[in-house]
């Protein structure tokens, strides 16, 4: 009863302490403006992708093209084996990375969550060092290319970065918070070994934490254009985001070297480049899955950021 009364009091306080309706309206208007500021730039790209060439010639980039066409999309799907290849590679590498990353990180997190394991400290320090110091891009490149021979392979798109120290710590904190230590003991008495405990108790109980981390990994991998830029030449293995970057760069390169643009060779290269609409269409197609999926997963992101701010 007393609790209910308290709640009622604080609820009515929240009502009293509200901003005035006018202020609320102004604030809402401000936020709507900001939201438009985030959405409209993306919409511009969508509009360019469905503008006709005539419209681009007369009006330039515009939210209100004179006429619409979907030829850019049609041509991508008709002749676009490159786009299809890239899509397959992106989906495959993202899926494999996410699953492997979750398995590897959660098993290490499980080990670090053992309070009485004497090796815990060793593994913790090993993980911590990777947060403090990195060899940097160049040594990593030499190792990956000359020692591990991962240049132009599917593995380079998957393996590096599977273990992220920060994510492991978040997972460990999550496991310690959701699985009581008595449960480990009880399982041990029942004769379950650590594999069983990890697989049948810890993983199912940590679903929410795993979902959060899965989304971080998934979005990161889907948007990763850099690994492809650095390590992939084979067109069959180029991820969508890398493909997008490369097309843009080739055009910039020719345009920035104006003497080259005027040579017959440069002209021919410019002519063979995808049109503005095609590039924008590729952008839309490469971003669509993330944009549509993310509102559904937003809850997990917010949860994850909040877990992350609690240090383990």
């Amino acid at each position: 009863m007393a609790k209910n009364k308290n709640e009622a009091v604080s609820n009515s306080f929240a009502q009293i302490n509200r901003v005035k309706p006018l202020t609320n309206a102004l604030l809402s208007a401000l936020f709507i403006l900001i939201a438009l500021g985030t959405v409209l730039p993306v919409l511009l790209v969508v509009m360019i992708s469905i503008s006709t060439s005539e419209s681009l010639a007369y009006r330039g980039f515009s939210y209100f093209p004179m006429s619409f066409t979907f030829t850019a999309y049609a041509s991508l799907f008709r002749t676009g084996s490159q786009l299809v290849d890239s899509y397959i590679i992106t989906i495959a590498s993202t899926a494999v990375s996410t699953v492997l990353s979750l398995l590897v990180m959660s098993s290490l997190a499980f080990v670090l969550a053992q309070q009485r394991f004497p090796g815990k400290k060793f593994y913790s320090i090993m993980l911590l060092i990777t947060m403090l110091f990195s060899g940097g891009m160049v040594p990593a490149y030499i190792i990956n290319v000359n020692v591990l021979h991962l240049y132009d392979t599917f593995f380079i798109l998957v393996l590096p970065g599977l273990v992220n120290a920060f994510n492991v710590i978040v997972l460990r904190t999550f496991i310690n918070g959701t699985v009581p230590i008595e449960m480990f003991d009880a399982a041990a008495i029942d004769g379950a070994n650590e594999f069983r405990v990890y697989w049948s108790i810890v993983l199912p109980l940590s679903k929410a934490g795993l979902a959060t981390i899965a989304l971080f990994v998934l979005v990161g991998k889907w948007n990763d254009w850099f690994t492809g830029m650095l390590y992939i030449d084979n067109p069959k293995l180029v991820p969508v985001q890398t493909m997008l970057t490369r097309i843009q760069q080739k055009i910039d390169f020719i345009k920035n070297n104006s003497d080259m643009a005027s040579t017959p060779d440069g002209q021919r290269m410019l002519m063979s480049m995808p049109t503005e609409q095609t590039r924008m269409a590729i952008l839309v197609l490469s971003t669509l899955p993330i944009i549509f999926a993310y509102p559904f997963f937003q809850r997990y992101f917010i949860q994850g950021l909040t877990i992350g701010s609690v240090k383990g």
């Binding site: 403090l132 160049v138 040594p139 190792i143 591990l148 997008l244």
Partner: protein, 320 residues
């Protein structure tokens, strides 16, 4: 007496015996950690030893151990030209601007957001405002191009034409870029950054506000004297944690969005883009490794310093 004896017996166990016992008891846990350990060794630890490259005249045939040792020669090039100063200045100044602008706007946004009382509208708006964070920089670069393209096409030039302003090829116009990059970075990051503060604000006990209202505090005064002091600790920690990455430039922002335009390097070249060019465009392994080494060492010093600072303020939040 008897306890001493068992103690003595235990101490007599030899090292190999103790190892065998440990393995028998814990091999499963070690095995569970193994995949992660292998990955860390290959992709995190091996490159750490690769920093030797910075002191070698690296050849593929010679490899890590056969290449000639040349001391600090690789560093000379960087410090002889203006490059080291230019890329360090750009990286540090941009990061300071990014941190300052993004943290203050995120906090402001979070405070205002908590006042919206039509929750459904608020949720939808939040979803939209966070959205840019999920766009890759490859995508952001092309969106920016839609606005900045020179000639009559770009949206900014159309606006300039309509208002009688100066039309330009913005990719060649240096003075605008520092502001543009700070703006684009804020566009991407502020909504996402505010999530942490929104969560912290909703964790503040209502009683503080009740007391403030009894004392006749206005909304602005409540924000000034209740909300901000409560956020102070997390703001300080966020600021300090960012110090550790002061020398890491956001590669995509400085490479993609600027279209890697050589004419803008003076104001857009950061350590990461410099290393990338030294590695891919005109390969010079020693030189790029030297720049990479310089970045890692300075970064390490900054992380440790930042962590010491965090420990002073709030031990719980420190990294180690």
């Amino acid at each position: 007496m008897s306890t001493t004896r068992t103690y003595a017996v235990r101490r007599k166990r030899s090292v190999p015996e103790r190892i065998a016992l440990h393995i028998r008891k814990y091999w499963r846990l070690h095995l569970l950690a193994l995949p992660a350990v292998i990955l860390l060794l290959l992709f995190n630890y091996a490159p750490m030893f690769g920093v030797m490259l910075a002191f070698q005249d690296f050849t593929v045939d010679g490899g890590f151990f056969g290449s000639k040792f040349v001391g600090f020669k690789n560093f000379e090039f960087m410090f002889e030209t203006n490059d080291a100063w230019r890329i360090t200045r750009n990286t540090v100044l941009y990061n300071i601007a990014f941190i300052g602008v993004n943290v203050s706007l995120s906090v402001l946004l979070a405070i205002l957001f908590n006042e919206l009382y039509i929750r459904k509208l608020a949720k939808t708006l939040q979803t939209l405002i966070i959205m840019p964070n999920f766009l890759s920089l490859a995508v952001v670069a092309i969106i920016a191009y839609g606005f900045l393209k020179g000639g009559p096409d770009g949206l900014i030039n159309q606006l300039m034409k309509a208002t009688g302003g100066q039309q330009r090829d913005w990719y060649l116009y240096k003075p605008i870029w520092p502001f543009l990059l700070v703006f684009i970075n804020a566009w991407r990051g502020v909504g996402y950054g505010s999530i942490v503060y929104v969560a912290s604000i909703s964790g503040i006990s209502q009683e503080y506000y009740e007391a403030a209202v009894l004392d006749g505090a206005s909304k602005v005064q409540q924000a000034r004297y209740v909300t901000l002091p409560h956020l102070k600790k997390i703001i300080v920690i966020m600021l300090i944690l960012n110090i550790g990455s002061l020398l890491r430039g956001d590669f995509g922002l400085f490479y993609n969005v600027t279209q890697n335009n050589g004419r803008l390097y003076e104001v857009t070249d950061v350590i990461d883009t410099y290393i990338f060019r030294a590695l891919k465009t005109n390969p010079n392994t020693g030189m790029s490794a030297a720049a990479s080494f310089y970045q890692s060492m300075a970064g390490l010093v900054l992380v440790i310093a930042a962590n010491l600072l965090v420990r002073k303020i709030d031990e719980e939040s420190s990294l180690f």
